[in-house]
Symmetry: C2
Subunit: 506 residues, 2 copies
Amino acid sequence: MARNQISCKSKGHKHMILIVGFMKKFTMLSISSWQSALKLGREDPRRLVHALKVGVALTLVSFLYLLEPLFKGVGDNAIWAVITVVVVLEFTAGATLCKGLNRGVGTLCAGSLAFLIEFMAEKTGTIFRAAFIGISVCLIGFLATYLRFIPYIKKNYDYGVVIFLLTFNLITVSSFRKRNVLYLARDRLYTIAIGCGLCLLMSLLILPNWSGEDLHHSTVYKIEGLARSIEACVNEYFQDEDKDNKIMEENSFKDPIFKGYRAVLDSKSIDETLATFASWEPRRHSRHCYRYPWRQYVKLGAVLRHFGYTAVALHGCLESEIQTPRSVRALFRDPCIRVAGEVSKVLAELASSIRNRRRCSSDVLSEHLHKALQDLNSVIKSQPRLFLGSNNAPSNTNMLVDWRHDKHALSEVVLPSVKTDISSILERRSKRVADKSAESAERKVLRPTLSKLAITSLEFSDALPFAAFASLLVEMVARLELVIEEVEELGRAANFKEFSGQDGIA
Amino acid sequence: MARNQISCKSKGHKHMILIVGFMKKFTMLSISSWQSALKLGREDPRRLVHALKVGVALTLVSFLYLLEPLFKGVGDNAIWAVITVVVVLEFTAGATLCKGLNRGVGTLCAGSLAFLIEFMAEKTGTIFRAAFIGISVCLIGFLATYLRFIPYIKKNYDYGVVIFLLTFNLITVSSFRKRNVLYLARDRLYTIAIGCGLCLLMSLLILPNWSGEDLHHSTVYKIEGLARSIEACVNEYFQDEDKDNKIMEENSFKDPIFKGYRAVLDSKSIDETLATFASWEPRRHSRHCYRYPWRQYVKLGAVLRHFGYTAVALHGCLESEIQTPRSVRALFRDPCIRVAGEVSKVLAELASSIRNRRRCSSDVLSEHLHKALQDLNSVIKSQPRLFLGSNNAPSNTNMLVDWRHDKHALSEVVLPSVKTDISSILERRSKRVADKSAESAERKVLRPTLSKLAITSLEFSDALPFAAFASLLVEMVARLELVIEEVEELGRAANFKEFSGQDGIA
C-alpha cells in the first residue's frame, strides 16, 4: 500500500510537472502571439484604427436593438443592420463602398424580381405555387451562379450577385408561408440601409483608408525598390572581395536586391484589387469631376513588372555558376556602375514625381545616361579580344595583362578538364543508377555538384557572362523608356501639375 | 395645323426609328452575351455543371420550407439552410469544405462565447445588461477584426472569423429581448448543419471538382507552356526572314511565346489559393493516410516562376532594339536550337512524369543536353572575333565573310552617325523644351524614335546581344536543375510511383 501511495504521489508529481509545463508553454505562446499582434499594429497602425472602428460601429448599430426608443422604430429587423455592418465594413473606403453598393443593388434587384414572381404565382393553387417557386429558385440559382464565372462580373459585382441570390431565395421561399412578406422586405431594406449608411459614414468620414492612396503609394514604393535593387545588383557584381556565389535559397529572401524587386513581381492581383476598389472611391485630388485613371496605375504596374523581370535576370547574372573573372569585370566597372546609377536616378525621379503628383521633368532621360551608355560602348569596343577562347590566347596580350595573369593557371588545363569532367559525369551516373535505392538525401547533395561540374567545365568564353550582364543593362535602359512613357501617360491622364524647375530632380 | 400634324408624324417616325434601333442594339447585345456565355461553358463545362448543381441544391433545400412534412420538422429556421447553401457551395470541393467547416466552427465558437456572456449578464439589471452587451460587442468586434489581419488567419480562417463575429452579434444582441434564444440558436445550428451537409454532398459526391486536381493540372500545364515557349523563342530568334521587330504591345498578347510563359508569371496567388483549398480535401490518390504535399506544388510553382523570368529575358532578346545581324546568328543556329530543344524535352518529360504521377527518369538531364551545351561552347570558341568593334575590323576577315559583307554598309558610317545622332538628340531636346505646350500626342510619337536612335546609335559590339542570348540559354540550363530538384522532391513527398523503363521519355 505504501508503494501504492508513493506511486500515487509520483503520479501526482508527474501531473504537476505536466501542468506546469503546459502553463509555461501557454504563457510563452500567449506572449509570442501578443508580441506578433503588437508588431502587426506597429507595422501599420491603420489596422488598429480599423479594428476599433468595427468595434464602435457594431456597438452603435446594436443600440438600435438595445435602446428602447430606437427599437420601437425599427423592431426585430434591427438585427439585419448588425449583419450588414459585420459583412460590409471593410478596411478601405473603396472596398466598403463596393460591398455596400453591391449589397444594396443586389438586394433591390432581388426584391423586385421576387415580387414579380410572387405576383405571377399569387393567383394559383398551393401545389402549383410550390412548384413554380421551386423551378424559379433552381433557374435563378443556375443563372446567377453561371453569371459569376464571367470575368467582368467576377471582378466587379461578385458580391452583389451572391447577395442577389441570397435575398431572392429568402424572399421567394418565405413568401410561400408568410403573407406580409412585402412589409417584411421593406423593413429589412430600411435596416440594411441604416447598416450600410453607418458603414459608409465610418469608412468615408472617420479616419478613412483609401485604396487609391494605397495603390498610389505602392506604385511609388515599387519604383523605388527597383531603383535600389538595380544599384545594389551592379555594385555587388563589381565588388572586390569574392563572396561565395552559391547563396542559399533561404538567404536570398533577405537579400536587399531580392527585397527591392520582390514587391514588383507578384503585384498583379494586388494592383487589380486596389484599382477596382479605388474606382469606387470619390475623387479627392482634383477640383474637376473626371474619372481618375486608376487603370493607368495597373498598366504602369504591368510595365514595371516587365522591367522587374530584367532586374531578375540581372540578379541571375550574380548567382550564375559561370562567371567572368573579377579582374576582367573590373575593366568595365566604372561605366556599368554609372549606367546603373543613372537608371536608378531616373527611376527615383519618376517615383518622386508620382509621389508629389507632378509631371516628370521632360529631360528625365538625362544626357548623363546616354553619356554613360556611350562610355560603356567605347570601353567594350576598346577590349576587342574578350570573346577569345583560351586556345587562341597567345597572340593577344596587349591590354588584358592582369586578366591573362588571372586566367593563366586555368587555361592550361581547360581541355583535359573537360575530358575528365565528362568521364566523371558518366561515372557518377552509372553509380547513381546502381545506387537507386540508396538514401535520397545523398542524391540531392550529389546532384547540384554534378551539374555544377557539368556546366562550369564548359568554360565557354570568359566574357560571355559579362556580355550578358552588359546587354541586360542596355535592355534595361530600353525598357526604362516604356516605364517613362507610362508614367508620363499617367501624369497626363491624372492631370498632375506641370513640372517646374523648382521641383528639382531627386 | 397640317404642319403640326406632319411634324407630329415625323416625330412619331423618329421615335419608331429610335425604338427599332434600340431593339436592334438590344438583340445584338443579347446575342453577343449569349455567345460569350456559351463560350464560357465550352471552355470549361464544369462551370455549367456547377451552376446546375447550385440550382438543384437550392431547390432541394427550399423543399424544407415548401413541403409540409419537412416544414413541420424544422420550422421557420429552414431559411437558414437556404442561406447556408447560397454562401457555402463553392466551385471546388476544397473550397466548399473550407467554407463549410469554417462556418460550422465559427458558429459553434460564437454560440459558446455568447452563452458565456449571457450567463454572466443574466442576473443583473436591464441597464447594466445593455451596457455589458454593448461593451462585449465592441471588444469582440475589435479583437476579431484585428485577428483577421494576421496573415495565417487571413489565409485559412478569414471566413470563419467573419461568421464567428456575425453569429456572436446575432445571438448576443437578440438575447437582450428574447428569452428562448438558446433554443433558437440550437434550431438554427441544426438547419445550418443541414445546409452544410447538402453542400458537402453536392460538392464531394456529385461530379466533384477538386482544387488539388486543378493545382496538379495547372502545374503540368505551366511546365508544358514553358517548354513550348522556349522552343518557339529560340526558333524565332534564328528565323531567316527579317520580321518587323517592333511588335506592338497588343500583338504581344497573342504571341505564342508570351502565351507559353504567361500562365507561370502571375501564378502565385492562384497557386496559394488552390493549395489552401486542396489541403482541406480528403486524400484520394493513395492508400496511405498521409498529408499530401500541396505546399510542394507551391514551392515548385515559385521555382517555375523564377525559371519563367529567364524565359522572359530570353524573349526580351528577340524584341530588343539592338540585334546581332542574322548572318552572325546563323553561325550559332544549330547548337542553340539543340540546347533549347533539349531543355524543352526535359521540361516535357518533367510535365509528363507529374501528369502520370510517377517519378521522373533518373537520367532526365540527358547527356544530349550536355553534348548540346558543349557544341555551343566549341562553336562560340571557334568564332573568336565576335566582340571586335567595327573600327578594328579590317584585319579579321577569316571566317565571318558574309557577316562583314552584311555590315559593310554600316561600318563606314558608324562614327559620323554617332555624332549626328547626339547632335540630333540635343537638337530635338531643345525643340521639345520650347514646344512644351504643344500637343502631347506628338511628343509621345517623338519619344520612342528618339530613344531608338539614341540606343541603336551606340552600335555596341554586334555580338553583345547574341552573347546575352547564349548566356541566358546556359543560365536556363542551370535553373532547370532547380526545377528538376523540386519535381523530384515532389515525387518523393507525394509518393509517386517509381520510374520504370517502360514509361519511356516524352
